[in-house]
Symmetry: C2
Subunit: 343 residues, 2 copies
DNA sequence: GCCTTGAATGATTGCGCTATCATCCAGGGC
DNA sequence: GCCCTGGATGATAGCGCAATCATTCAAGGC
């Protein structure tokens, strides 16, 4: 009845219902509406119901932009991955979002590709949203990126890589160890003349380095390496393996992703090579189609869901305990060699 | 020199540099800093450089939360898809984000699954961020969702479906037409006894309905239908096809996704059935592995990149022209039957 | 000289919310 | 009666920025 106290809506207002509108309808102070919605345990049952009713009547949708500004809590988590067009990262995105959204966080997704420059650019705009937490793929960042992240003092989980010295928390695995394990596996199978097809991305190169060091430990210094651009694709795999097979006598080709390996497989088949008899092929990622190819692709399984899950959990924990000591927690989720029919 | 005019930093402040800090260092008014950063053409060259310098000195990172509140422009676009763990939607996410981020927009990703309830919940929290635009998968929404979207008056593109009556703009294709085209294709190949394995999702069901109506047009009223839960997977495909093949004499099985079709294929192979001689198999989506399977999977290609691209473009256009008449623009990107070696 | 013009810059205000502290009041101890 | 306690509610003041309008000043016309 008494709406004489309303301020006239300024020309800058958006026109939709505000907290004060709900407060007027419910006959309480704006602050009480805020509490009824965000901390209902502080408000009496009857007030809560009146507010609820008023929200429905006014069609009020809270403005979290204003809320974030006032409270310095955005309830936003930034998730930076190279791409989602790769099932491994898609899996991470899927699980991280599942965990975080169940706890009331929303996710600002950033696709940083495979270059430090893109990461820098995107990180800057991401930080301008003042996220409550960040999940960041990889742990080899430019100096500027590291500096910005430290300055932002925002809970952070690096994923999908391994280091002793994380910026904050880390959930991942060692790419070098993957490479080394693949080398040992193939050597134990008796393969000796290796081709490598690797994407031009820093983590793939780490795996290659691990693989090569594994070979060297066994006294093998010779191998053939080809790099391909991103995104990896079957045609890249075919083209580079054709090149390798034309010029070198190889008995195994190791690829930095399953999709490349599939390309190698089809090249081998088109040349009438028996797999793995005349040519062994190793992928990486254990994509859903690795098991479905014929012959079924041997590969390395990374549990993206586990990484996403643990990363999200770590982040939630840290966000809940604001200044918990920066423990430098590191979790290695490992990997698994999947020995199917191409090795 | 003169910093006597500074307000003491309130206890509620976040501690990082603000516009006023930069302004003080640069020796200009805060408003001038704002202009130098957001509308540099309004500021003299020398001022712009001084501000730039001051930004570097202070390590200032703009607070877009405050900016969004003050300007009623969030520079945020919400992108709602069922999942990213499916290459088709991942492709859409990838392209939408590519286009939008090049124009300075950030993307708030929402995974709505395949139920209207999840869509409702997520849409509510999404709207509370006051996005400048929304890309929404599907165009069959609950009444509440439709009402909220209309009330929000935010530029909207529905994707991945088709209707005459979009909420705002629409870029997609007709799932019924897909089903009908698949029916015609298989009938023309001479297949007559059909099994259908479909996910329990509304758009897959539309494709089934189209397929069935295609059969009926040809006078075929009998078919075997099995539904599977989400997410679809190879084991689901194997299990349901085993069930179908045990009980019915079929010469073709149509699946609502490639991954299901791959499961059917492996079941067929394990039974020693020749494909397509004794059993034809049809997928949907033309995932990257469809061409790689053996035999290569026949399927339906949807150009997810085109959908994402056009959707993002439409949205950008609408966001640039605030109250352009709600044209009800509809774009049908169609689909393509990919006739490989399983039909 | 005087006015106009427009580019550059500044001062003020408010976006819609929540932190914080103040107030109010019922219930209880003594 | 008085004071304490604590739950419920309210009033006030900002969060950091940009919209808006005001001011300044050099250049130019006459």
């Amino acid at each position: 009845m008494d709406d004489s106290g309303d301020k006239p809506r300024s020309s800058r207002s958006t026109g939709s219902a505000r907290l004060t509108d709900v407060a007027r309808v419910a006959g309480v102070a704006p602050m009480t509406v805020s509490r009824a919605l965000n901390r209902p345990e502080l408000v009496s049952e009857s007030t809560r119901l009146r507010v609820q009713q008023a929200v429905l009547e006014t069609g009020y949708v809270p403005n979290r932009v204003a809320g974030a500004l006032a409270s310095s809590r955005s309830r936003l988590v930034a998730l930076l991955v190279p791409t989602v067009a790769h099932s491994l990262f898609a899996e991470v995105v899927q699980t991280v979002m599942g965990v975080l959204s169940s706890q009331g966080y929303q996710v600002l997704l950033g696709l940083v590709g495979y270059t430090p420059e893109q990461e820098e650019t995107i990180l800057e705009t991401v930080l301008s949203r003042r996220p409550d937490g960040i999940v960041l793929t990889g742990c080899r960042h430019s100096a500027l990126t590291r500096q910005r992240l430290k300055a932002a003092e925002v809970p952070l989980v690096e994923i999908w890589d391994m280091t002793d010295d994380p910026l904050d928390m880390l959930v991942g695995f060692s790419h070098e160890a993957v490479g080394r394990a693949v080398a040992e596996h193939l050597l134990s199978r008796g393969y000796r003349r290796f081709g490598i097809i690797s994407a031009d991305d820093s983590r793939a190169k780490l795996r290659v380095a691990g693989f090569v060091s594994g070979l060297e430990s066994a006294g093998i210094g010779e191998y053939q390496l080809r790099e391909v651009g991103t995104p990896s694709s079957m045609p890249w795999g075919r083209e580079k393996s054709a090149e390798l097979l034309d010029r070198h006598a190889l008995d195994a080709i190791v690829c930095s992703s399953d999709i490349l390996a599939l390309g190698v497989l089809s090249e081998a088949q088109s040349r009438g090579l028996t797999v793995p008899g005349q040519l062994a092929i190793m992928g990486f990622g254990d994509s859903s189609y690795a098991a479905a190819s014929f012959p079924a692709l041997s590969t390395v399984r990374i549990d993206g869901a586990a990484i996403g899950l643990r990363a999200a959990e770590h982040l939630l924990q840290r966000m809940a305990q604001p200044t918990f000591e920066r423990a430098g927690q590191v979790l290695d989720v490992g990997f698994e060699i999947i020995d199917r029919d191409t090795t």
